[in-house]
Amino acid sequence: MRKSIIILIALLGVGWVVWNLHTVLLQLPDDADQGPVYRIMFFHIPAWFSAGIAVFIALGSSIGYLITKNLKYDAVALATTEAAVAFLTIGLVTGSIWGRISWGIWWTWDARLTSALVCWLLYAGYLVLRTAIEEPSQRARISAVLQIFAFADIPIVWYSIEWFRTQHPGPVLRGSGEMDGAMKAAVYANWPALMLVAAAFVLLRLRQEEVKREIDSLRRIVHAG
């Protein structure tokens, strides 16, 4: 039952992304300055948004675990962090490919790019740390604390690097942003679609953690018998 719901969400998300792809590729005109390559944006920006939301949920559930000591919160933190790392990777890779054309370089140490990379390193470190601890409650406790440290580090990293020149364009969705309305709509349309895909990942991962706990208790029964 639950598995079919997850599959349904995943199919819905992927279908929506494909549908958006049709709009993006065939209906929107090329960008006046950049040409067709700007279409990477329709994955790039929603991927960052999704990763950002996942990171917030991961922080919330880590704090939730420390307060309640309920391993379900820990599973949520793990599942959302994994999804966040997947989407951070998409953001970094698509951004780099886009930058190769529109800036002429793969990478530059500007504020946004550097903080994004540090974010990726921090959360990847979190996932690596988890693999090194066997005992579930110890793992949950230690990784929850690390999650809080990682989250606190992000704004500090951001400010530390902001004092160098920034190459990445500022916000284009709000304020004095100059993005065309139809393009903006396409970015916003792709966001919930990618969020659905992310939700399917998270739900599947959560289910796996539950099954793992069941496996652990069965193992104990087998060994005890």
């Binding site: 792809l21 950049q34 040409g35 067709p36 390559v37 700007y38 279409r39 990477i40 994955f43 790039h44 991927a47 994994e82 997947a86 990777t89 998409i90 890779v93 698509t94 490919i97 886009w98 190769r100 054309i101 895909v197 990942f201 599947l204 991962r205 796996q208 099954v211 793992k212 069941e214 496996i215 069965l218 193992r219 029964i221 087998v222 018998g225």
Partner: protein, 52 residues
């Protein structure tokens, strides 16, 4: 210039799909492994209860 531009748009979009696909694949292989392990353990526990 234009040819490269379109090429890189393709690379960008494809890389996003590839990363999603790779992550989905790791999830699915883990799923298969976990399910097999669960089935095996359940079988063990049932066997033991029958012999008792």
């Amino acid at each position: 210039m234009d040819q490269r531009n379109i090429e890189f748009m393709f690379y960008g979009l494809a890389s996003a799909w590839v990363i999603l696909g790779v992550y989905a694949l790791t999830l699915l292989t883990r799923e298969r492994k976990i399910d097999a392990e669960l089935k095996r353990l359940r079988g063990l526990v049932e066997n033991r209860e029958e012999t008792k």
